[in-house]
Amino acid sequence: MPANTFIYHRAADLADAQKVIQQQSQSTNVLLTQPRVPAPYPVATGLQLDLRNLNLNFIRSKSGLIEIGTSTTLQALADAPLLKRGNNGIVATAALHCTHYGLRNLACAGGAAIAGDGPPDLQLAWLILDAQIHWDNGTVSTIGAHAPAGASFPIQISYTDTVTSAALHAVRRTPRDEAIVAVAAALQTQANQVTHARIAISGVGNTPARCTAAEMALAGNALTAANIESAAAAAAATSGSRSDYRGSSAYRHAMASVLTQRALDALASNNHS
């Protein structure tokens, strides 16, 4: 096959998809639309692999896990009662914030999970829920990690269906704009002791990432104003030097702190009420 040709293939099933990828000498672009579509579309050459026939469009609760098929649209995530109910509805809310209505009907969970840039909301939500990406070759990775060796495309995203109190706070130029900085936080507490803390930040580094220093300021400690402040301070020190017209690195670091404080304050007040 000549280099740089553009081939479309709709896989009949998983085996067919994997076989066709292996036979390729060119790059493969799996047609999982991301919330920020690289422009001008289509940018890729090579094999365009359509997963439509693989029936990966589902949201289900199974054995204590929420499972989301890779082809499930963002609007389906936003509409799903299951996702609106659990974890303060953070996944449904995050899906809503990822892009506009029309594109939410095309962009999908798999695209959002592996996107290298664009709206961070879903990745943040999944990071604080310890979500995992299940790949076509049976391997598993965390959000933000490189695809495991030999893996070609995500099959599903899953996370434990535990009751976690979660919050997502962001600063944006306009209410539906992509977040400049966003912070997601999830806490589990027992008698005001934090038994589990997850804090993830976007907009400071190149990709959304957990801030373990902030988490450590809380985990195992009482949910007090002082500990929340420590977590916010740790968030300000999160590594990253992202800087662009929407915000300097200094601003982004400062906002990481402000928004972490707000997210945790909100969770603390829920905890007390």
Binding site: I7, H100, I180
Partner: protein, 984 residues
Amino acid sequence: MKINVEINGTPHPLECAPETTLMDALRTARVWSVKHGCESGDCGACSVLLNGRLTPTCVMLAAQADAQQIETVEGLTERHEIHPIQQAFIDTGAIQCGFCTPAMIMATKELLNREPAPREEQVREVLGGVLCRCTGYLRPVQAVMRAAAMLRGEIVPPVDPHGGLPFEALFGPRTPGETPTPDFGNSTTQVQTEPRTVVLPTVQLGSVGRPEPKVDGVKLAKGRPVFADDIELPGMLHGALLTSPVAHARIKRIDASAARKLPGVHAVLTYADVPRVVYASGGQSHPNPPPYDQVSLDSKVRHVGDRVAVVAAETPAIARAALLLIEVEYEELPAVFDAHAAMRPGAPVIHDEPDAVSITDRDRNLAAEIHARVGDVEAALAAADQRFERTYTTHQVHQGYIEPHIVVTWWDDEDRLVIRTSTQVPFHVRRMVAPLLELPVKRIRVIKPRIGGGFGGKQEMLIEDLCAHLTIATHRPVRFEYTRAQEFTSARSRHAQTLTFRAGVSQAGDLQALDLHIVEDTGAYGTHGLTVCSVSGLRGLSTYRCPALRFHGEIVYTNKPTAGAYRGYGGPQAEFALECLMDEIALLTGRDPVAFRMQNAVRVGDTIPITAAIGEGEVMEEGAGDPQRVLTCGLPECVSQGSAAIAWDRRTNANWHQDPQRPHIRRGLGMAVCMHGTAIPGLDMGAASIKINDDGSFNVLVGATDLGTGSDTVLAQMAAETLGVPTVDVIIYSSDTDFTPFDTGAYASSTTYISGMAVHKAALQLRNLMFDRAALMLNCSADGMTAHNSRVHANDGRSVSHAEIALHSLHTQDQQQLMATASYVSPYSPPPFGAQFAEVEVDTGTGQVTVIKLVMAVDCGVAINPLTALGQIEGGMVQALGYVVCEEMPYDELGRMQVARFGDYRIFSADEMPEMEAILVPTYEPTGPFGAKAVAEIPLDGVAPAVANAVCDAIGVRIRSLPLTPERVWQAQAQHAVAGAQPA
């Protein structure tokens, strides 16, 4: 490859290449309602219902739609029917340019299929999938609600419950066709308004003042092929433009041989292949204002995105591939991106070419310069009790029309070049492109179909020359369209300006002196730079009474993409500075900001002295010209009604400014007074031809250019009013340089006023011919005849119908075609006035500004069509909202644009809008047709200062640079905290 889709219920095989997007496949299949606005899924103009769900088609492959169901607006109705959703969009005025309308209608259909009684929030969410740059979304939301009610079988109220503007109640009985003559010696015209809540008597007759549906509403709602790109010509080639990746360089070597050899490529043109003819690209009257500093293709590039070469090929993909094969060796030159730095000694000289004409000082990169004065400013400043000096900066923003620049050119049967283009200035394009192509004007025909928004960005001869060169080179039709990224890098935008005001104020609070200095960044080419800056001077020095005025404008080249015309045309920059300054002075002198403004604002009978000193891009000797005079001014009523609508009283309530539930939020209110112009006096010209048809209907031919504003409708209404027929009996056609009379084009808020007067004059002439014919038929005198109800009425009570007159004149006796042509140029430029109010919330932790409500009350004279006038105000406010809070065109240190897509640039969508209210405050402008003044541009003027003033009210921090992005506000707060409480 072959795919099978079902389009509107009918199986449809499509043959396409694997990389073809669904949008391209549908348009190739002549599903023209699917529009191209971007290549990134951001705008939604290409959206269809895919298996019942609104889906953008530009970011999916056609192959992905194989065996799927597609619904488009074409499937809603048969040819002569209209679907309730389409009807609701027409009724409510939800359609302006109509480019987004098919997608909006399909979004509505999707929603109403699953939710027959939607809440506003649901409507906004779904409409959030389609960007509209024209309407401000208020009317589309109303349209969806109305459509929902219609589909539920409910009786919907008339859109026009009061029968339109209460014309007679406001202005007394009208004499059909009478145009009052201005009397400058007796300027007693009074403001006449009625509170919005009072129901006034219905106008019994006539079209003017009624919210008539747009004359082009049905075809736009049906998604008919009415835009420039909705055409397929046999043998059509596709153009593509190679642009510069560097900001400033000479082209040392360019080799297009590989590109030319690529199969399917028909032409590659570089600077070596086209005549070098120097021109100015701004679409303005002859002679174009200087400088003349462009050529079609040059051996030097002056900004990232500048033209390098053009290609014509069998397909867009081949054309793009050919661009990659053009080898260019650049000799990079130092570049300068800051207007102040560009004027310093040693700065790189951007225009060193010897053949550029009328550059003021090329060594200082000074494209042009303006000095103007009234009185002695220095003496007045010295004598003033208090003096203030403030500097404000405004930024470059894009017009954001959804339809990109698109041109199709071809040779017709008589070897004349036809240019079908999305332009605001078809006649200027014909005149300006002719020398570049070395063709006489008579061998060029420019057709302007419907335009998918322009907002000034299409007041330019921008890409027509390149497309035409390709047709000349290939002898084939060529279609050439900008990509969305090229719209940002290679089209036009609003000028960034640095504005320094010095003001002197008396102890009594009267302005004594205003001195305005502007440094304007025109980017790489001069085009509209001089005229925009002169309008900034006018706008900055017109609103308030002041005996001593001075203006100095410097228009400076930089290595950035070129700025040009954008709705408001220098007004928004100047009004931002002026209205922030007025707020600052009021607060510093302990005055109420509204009272201070009103104390100084111009009023009926005042002259506007600066208008005698600054013309359109020219400076007059002091005392040389006659200043404009204010004959009508609804400003006090605008302020009064706007204050009530925003609940201005809350400003003095300290508790209101805080929210106990959200301690980081501060609330604020701000306002600005706005004053604009109406057309360019003595320069803008419109013309119209009208003829009667056998059935008593009329054809109106105008050169005026409806770019979505509804001007065709307004002109039809004025013709109908004069001729005494309903608007549906007026068939309006605009504009085609072969068939319609000349018009300077759609800019400077001129169409209603100038072209409207031309229509009115032509209609009066035709009506007189009809009176003569009626007199012949009735054997009576024409004296005292009137025309209404589609009949001509004689003094003695007898009448003949328009149809009878037409048949008599065309077929029976002394046959002649009753027709008339008239032109109009106005010596006046009556100012519309407005009061803009804004309510904001500022997040003190992040700096994020959220605009909660915008209110604008506008005196635009008599709104010929209140529906379209309100739509102009609402849409304009939203554009201005983007200007103040989020839109900007930032560059990196190499001059590369950092936003090249709608999503990053950020245009407000339906699901994030503040509450908005537009109020019409009618006055009767005696120089305008039926009392009209302009409305199109003034909504852009006040939002930025009103929001900035509201932010200051909220947090006590004055921010003098736009836009008010979160970091800028946050930084300003921090600096304020460090500096201590600086003066507001």
